[in-house]
């Protein structure tokens, strides 16, 4: 078994009386595509929010490459290479697709106030240099025709793609995708799965929440199942598929 790059210990989050997340232990292993599945309201998105620090856990700890990041700011975590997308897509509506991508790719240094005021040659060169990667990524995602449209003019599925493209501009080490296939048509879904596999083979670790079970089973090396905040099953797709607990959770007979 390969190295653990993300490790979570006894992570808990309550909303009033509701225990949204209660995960004893979770590890993400290097090189794998891991899928997180579970019925609606299982706590998957909340779990994402917790490990990316968009919400604070009530208790528990998170380690990224052995570094304790439990209290780190979300943006710093992203700088360490863990980049997420959102279930409810978040694009910069009144910026063009191109600008969305460019903002994502632009270096933090160049976004400094003084640097932006002085605008050295290197800054301009570095900014121009981004265009190559932007074009490449937009082509990959079939968005190149929309390059100059406002992001809010995209369809729901296209926004999902743009969000993925934006994340790719960050050269992430870990990519957390919250329902990347939701609202994407079947043909494009196929292509997207290819892309995800391809990214993985380039060394990007992927953790993905997805309701499309067929797709999940097809590309994941490992599947983790959540229900009512807890991880109830974890293993190879075939193992999970036949796990009695999982079947019960999906059939909704879990209320004892």
């Amino acid at each position: 078994m390969s190295n653990s790059i993300l490790s979570v210990k006894s992570l808990k989050k309550r909303f009033g009386g509701l225990e949204a997340v209660n995960v004893d232990s979770f590890e993400l292993y290097e090189g794998e595509i891991t899928s997180l599945i579970g019925p609606n309201g299982a706590g998957k998105t909340t779990f994402f929010d917790l490990i990316t620090r968009f919400q604070s856990a009530d208790s528990g700890s998170i380690f990224l490459n052995e570094k304790n990041v439990t209290k780190l700011n979300s943006y710093k975590l992203a700088r360490l290479g863990m980049v997420r997308t959102f279930q409810l897509t978040r694009v910069f509506d009144r910026m063009s697709v191109y600008e969305n991508m460019k903002f994502a790719g632009s270096s933090i240094k160049n976004e400094g106030f003084l640097k932006s005021l002085i605008q050295t040659k290197t800054l301009k060169q570095q900014e121009d240099h981004l265009n190559v990667k932007i074009d490449e990524t937009l082509k990959l995602l079939n968005l190149i025709e929309m390059k100059d449209s406002y992001a809010r003019e995209l369809s729901g599925g296209q926004k999902k793609l743009l969000e993925l493209g934006r994340s790719l501009m960050k050269n992430p080490k870990i990519l957390l995708l919250d329902e990347p296939l939701a609202g994407v048509n079947p043909k494009l879904s196929e292509e997207l799965l290819e892309i995800i596999l391809n990214l993985n083979s380039q060394g990007i670790n992927i953790l993905m929440v997805e309701h499309n079970i067929d797709a999940v089973m097809k590309i994941s090396k490992r599947v983790v199942v959540m229900a009512e905040g807890k991880i109830i099953s974890d293993g190879k797709p075939d193992f999970v598929r036949s796990d009695q607990k999982v079947i019960e959770a999906y059939l909704g007979s879990s209320d004892d």
Binding site: T52, F54, N73, S74, Y75, K76, A78, R79, V83, R84, T85, F86, R90, V91, F92, D93, R94, M95, E99, K102, F103, A104, S106, I108, N110, E111, G112, F113, K115, S116, L117, Q119, L123, E127, Y150, E163, R166, S167, M169, K170
Partner: protein, 348 residues
């Protein structure tokens, strides 16, 4: 191009209105109006950086304007308060102005630090409160600020630099030369500030601000420090506000507790929304139109009340200001020069 044409027509009509409604001393009224418009336009440019570029709600601009003005004026030769204590030494004016701008930016930092981490409406509450705190402190700490008696006799620092030809020109056309000088400097500053802002707007920093305005969470997810960006934007806009405050007191020649009252902020907001939130030159244009409207409201006052007193004049003005803010925000949030595509309606 259409909107620029509209803007042009409005401007021309405004100027005609001014000349024909003042049979005596049209030039004087004209300079007075343009100077005030420039000052408020500059202030509105500051709020535009906050609201138009970054989505920050600043309802306490009077405090930023005020702190810049008081800092500058207190650092140059002036007389103070009821007794008229004369302080005849001081810093050179440019240095005092720079320190004034820094003071405004620091107030922005002070107010921004606790609130910019939070949801947007907290900033609105805190800034409006800050303006009220500022008013109360200025009134109460008379030793420092002169309170209601204020600070006087500081104008020489600026007026000494007035070129002779301006004095000459003013005399020929029966205009106040001091005001003309302040007005010219104000509009020069506007051009200067706009050149810098235009540069910033298309820089990576400006783009990052727009991203923050659109969706902070997404900004964070991409590893960018949204709070820092907001803080920088807030300080920049505050400093621009400070500069306009400095011009305002030089235009009056005095500064008292009643100069920077919280409602001043809403004049500026009205100018901004009229001109076009988010556009570069919109706020300045909005301010010109706004002052023409204000001149017009005084006619309304005279129609409503036989001989309106100061309170009634101010009342009518602010009724119009309130209506302007509401109606423009509802029916034409992009203002006259704003970009339709940049409508601010659905900002969360």
């Amino acid at each position: 191009m259409n909107k620029y044409f509209t803007a042009f027509i409005i401007l021309v009509l405004s100027f005609f209105y001014i000349f024909f409604s003042n049979d005596s001393g049209g030039g004087r009224v004209f300079v007075n109006l343009l100077t005030f418009a420039g000052i408020y336009g500059l202030a509105a440019i500051g709020i535009n950086v906050h609201f138009g570029w970054t989505g920050l709600l600043n309802f306490g601009h009077a405090a930023f304007m005020g702190i810049g003005a008081y800092t500058t004026v207190l650092l140059i030769p002036h007389s103070l308060g009821r007794e008229g204590v004369v302080i005849s030494t001081g810093l050179p004016l440019p240095l005092a102005i720079i320190l004034g701008l820094i003071a405004s930016a620091l107030l922005g930092l002070l107010l921004g630090l606790p609130t910019l981490r939070l949801r947007g409406d907290y900033l609105a509450i805190v800034t409006i409160a800050a303006a009220e705190i500022f008013r109360l402190l200025v009134r109460d700490f008379e030793d420092l600020t002169g309170g209601v008696y204020g600070i006087i006799q500081f104008s020489d620092s600026l007026q000494n630099s007035r070129p002779d030809f301006i004095t000459q020109f003013s005399e020929n056309y029966n205009i106040s030369s001091a005001q003309l000088w302040v007005g010219l400097l104000t509009w020069f500053s506007i051009v200067f500030v706009l050149i810098i802002l235009a540069r910033l707007k298309k820089s990576p920093w400006g783009r990052a601000l727009r991203a923050v305005r659109e969706d902070e969470d997404a900004v964070r997810a991409l590893g960018k420090n949204a709070v820092l960006l907001k803080l920088q934007s807030f300080m920049l806009g505050a400093a621009i506000g400070g500069l306009s405050g400095i011009f305002l007191v030089f235009n009056y020649g005095t500064v008292q507790a009643s100069t920077f009252v919280p409602v001043l902020t809403f004049y500026v907001w009205a100018a901004l929304i009229l001109g076009g939130v988010g556009s570069l030159g919109g706020p300045a244009l909005g301010a010109v139109i706004f002052w023409v409207i204000i001149a017009g409201t005084d006619t309304i006052s005279r129609f409503l009340f036989e001989s309106p007193d100061g309170q009634q004049l101010a009342g009518v003005r602010f009724v119009i200001v309130g209506l302007l803010i509401m109606f423009c925000m509802i029916f034409k949030p992009s203002g006259i020069l704003g970009d339709k595509e940049e409508l601010l309606l659905d900002v969360k």
